[in-house]
């Protein structure tokens, strides 16, 4: 068996407001190194909730969470922020760029925060990534000045900049037309195949999901295999 990048053991999550509600019930799942996994399920089944727990941003859950062999539950906010910075890349449905910063600054920000490379190396990295995604000519534009498809590619570039262990996407193609959606999938697939990156993507898009290595189907807080 390949090395596990991400693993959960019996994760439970409750919403307390407005009524007590058991959202996630004993979720145990894993993502292997280099694996491209999608999570599908109808609205309200808890797939996004699961993703935010896996992303370390939501810490209000029961059960164990491992990333890259490290147990994450019990770490404090600072430590989790550092792990997100170094090991996890995010792509959201809405592009979520800093509108007042240039494309290049958006991409470089997580790497500067990590602080492991010099400014010059980060710049070279960022330009390489932009070139890989075919948007290098947008580098010095303000993030608010580029098109939706381009924004999503910039978001992917930002997710890639620190060479994370895993990239998580919450409906990364949900807001794009089919051409741009295919484009994003092809980029993910290429990165998965060529660089051995792991992907975990929550999606509604069945065509998208079918092309991934494995589909995790969720229904009402449990995993249906």
């Amino acid at each position: 068996m390949k090395k596990l990048v991400l693993q959960t053991k019996k994760v439970n999550k409750y919403f307390k407001n407005p009524l007590p509600f058991h959202v996630l019930k004993d979720i145990s799942m894993h993502v292997e190194e280099g694996e491209f996994v999608s999570i599908m399920g109808k609205s309200g089944c808890g797939k996004s909730t699961l993703l935010y727990i896996l992303s370390t941003m939501d810490t209000d859950y029961e059960g164990d969470l491992f990333l890259d062999g490290q147990k994450l539950n019990g770490l404090n906010g600072e430590e989790l922020a550092a792990i997100r910075n170094e090991k996890i890349g995010f792509v959201f449905q809405f592009h979520y760029l800093l509108a007042e910063f240039t494309v290049l600054e958006n991409i470089m920000l997580p790497a500067k925060k990590l602080g492991k490379k010099s400014e010059k190396e980060i710049l070279d990295d960022a330009m390489d990534t932009l070139r890989l995604l075919g948007i290098e000519e947008q580098a010095h534009k303000k993030a608010s000045m580029i098109s939706g498809g381009q924004k999503q590619r910039v978001a992917i570039a930002r997710a890639l900049i620190n060479h994370p262990k895993i990239i998580m996407g919450d409906e990364p193609t949900g807001n794009l037309d089919s051409k741009n959606a295919d484009n994003v999938f092809n980029i993910f697939k290429k990165l998965s195949d060529e660089r051995g990156l792991s992907f975990l993507v929550v999606t509604h898009d069945e065509d998208f999901a079918k092309k991934t290595d494995r589909i995790i189907s969720m229904g009402d807080g449990i995993i249906e295999e």
């Binding site: 997100r84 500067k112 925060k113 919450d170």
Partner: protein, 420 residues
């Protein structure tokens, strides 16, 4: 450290892209600090002018021989009436000399005291200024010019001529401005003076003296100590007042008591004579600080408001920063440093504004008869006020930024991202 640099770069972009709001927030601080500097410089300038008017001119201890009834009347010496209730009619002051008894040895004793900065003996005489057949009532005080100038800034009140000229001219006089006006006398003219004992003297006017108080300027003139003594037909030991200046004004009351007990003379200290001045100064200071603090609190609310709005606007940015690995504390510092920079820039501009306006006030003509040597409004450029100003600017903006920054720190990125 690199963390700090990147936080500052985010801060910079936030501030610059909202240049208008940033400037308005900074202007609030500028206005508050500027007003503080202007108020405090002007008020303390005015205070020290007024204090100086009284305190510099007034001896710390004045020793004189007071004409008063004996504190122990004759009947009280009689043992057989010791238990009785005394009723004495028509008490008169005791007949004694108006000069200070044994003044010269007393002066030597004061000079030997290490608390004493200097002393200035005076000899006062009642006179009549003669203008034709008209006699104007007046008072001439014999002074030691060097001591008066050195200890009590006497030269500030000599509006024409120089006090030093008095030393060179033995029968010179520094004439009160009121008398000079009444008698149409000018520098270099001569004036006839009758002493109360009947002698007549011709004095040469070497200067005009103006205290600002008409009742003094209309009667008072100054001559050399020796001249005044000659006037009275008395010797060198005739001294009516001894003015003492101390190194430390606070010692005046105890010193006055000591002198009274030791030498059997009257001594009055500056604190007793001018108690109202201390009160006036502290109340003016209180008003200055109260107004300034109010202004800065208002400026602080402005900053609080703007940062709060900024944080609502920046919810998405905060969520992204947190999702990509910035901790709550990083986000808090982004907003705190914005408040800090607004405070710093606003504060420095405020100091500049305060300084420039102070200089303008300092150069505004201010002419008053009461203060003959003052030509412009007084300003106190104490650097301490500038330090207080910038410290206040930074601390008030820090507190104004603290709550919004704390809110930003605690924003849950999941709420923002899911909310869309």
């Amino acid at each position: 450290m690199s963390n700090f640099k990147i936080i500052l770069s985010i801060t910079r972009i936030h501030l610059l892209t909202r240049f208008k709001q940033t400037s308005i927030a900074a202007l609030g601080v500028t206005f508050g600090i500027g007003t503080f500097i202007i108020l405090v410089s002007f008020m303390t300038g005015l205070n020290s002018l007024l204090d100086g008017l009284v305190l510099n001119r007034t001896p710390h201890v004045r020793v004189y021989n007071e004409i008063k009834p004996s504190s122990k009347q004759a009947i009280e010496f009689a043992n057989e009436y010791a238990e009785a209730f005394h009723v004495i009619y028509s008490i008169k002051p005791k007949l004694s000399q108006t000069r200070i008894h044994n003044a010269l040895p007393m002066i030597n004793a004061f000079l030997a005291d290490e608390r004493v900065k200097g002393i200035s003996p005076q000899c006062a005489a009642q006179v009549f200024y003669l203008a034709g057949s008209l006699e104007l009532n007046g008072r001439i005080t014999g002074i030691n010019v060097e001591e008066e100038v050195g200890l009590f800034n006497f030269q500030e009140y000599v509006v024409e001529g120089k006090p030093e000229d008095l030393i060179k001219t033995s029968n010179g006089v520094l004439l009160g401005a009121g008398i000079a006006k009444k008698m149409s006398l000018h520098l270099g003219d001569r004036i006839q003076v009758n002493s109360s004992s009947g002698g007549r003297f011709a004095l040469k006017i070497v200067g005009i003296f103006q205290s600002g108080l008409a009742e003094i300027d209309d009667v008072q003139s100054y001559v050399n100590l020796r001249t005044a003594q000659t006037f009275l037909g008395e010797g060198k030991d005739y001294i009516s007042d001894i003015n003492i200046k101390l190194w430390d004004m606070e010692e005046a009351p105890s010193m006055a008591k000591e002198i009274e007990a030791q030498f059997n003379v009257s001594a009055i200290d500056i604190k007793t004579a001018n108690a109202q001045f201390d009160t006036g100064t502290s109340i003016r200071n209180l008003i200055t600080y109260a107004v300034s603090i109010t202004l800065l609190v208002v400026a602080g609310f402005g900053i609080y408001n703007i940062l709060n709005m900024l944080i609502y606007e920046k919810m998405n940015d905060i969520a992204i920063l947190k999702a990509t690995g910035f901790s709550g504390r990083d986000v808090q510092w982004i907003f705190l440093s914005q408040a800090f920079i607004i405070g710093l820039i606003g504060g420095i501009l405020g100091l500049l504004l305060g300084f420039v306006v102070s200089v303008m006030i300092d150069n505004t003509p201010f002419v008053t008869d009461a203060l003959p040597t003052i030509t412009t409004y007084p300003i106190d450029y104490n650097p301490m006020y500038y330090i207080i100003g910038i410290v206040f600017a930074l601390s008030s903006t820090f507190f104004a930024g603290y709550l919004p920054a704390k809110k930003a720190k605690n924003i849950d990125p999941v709420d923002i991202i899911r909310g869309q």
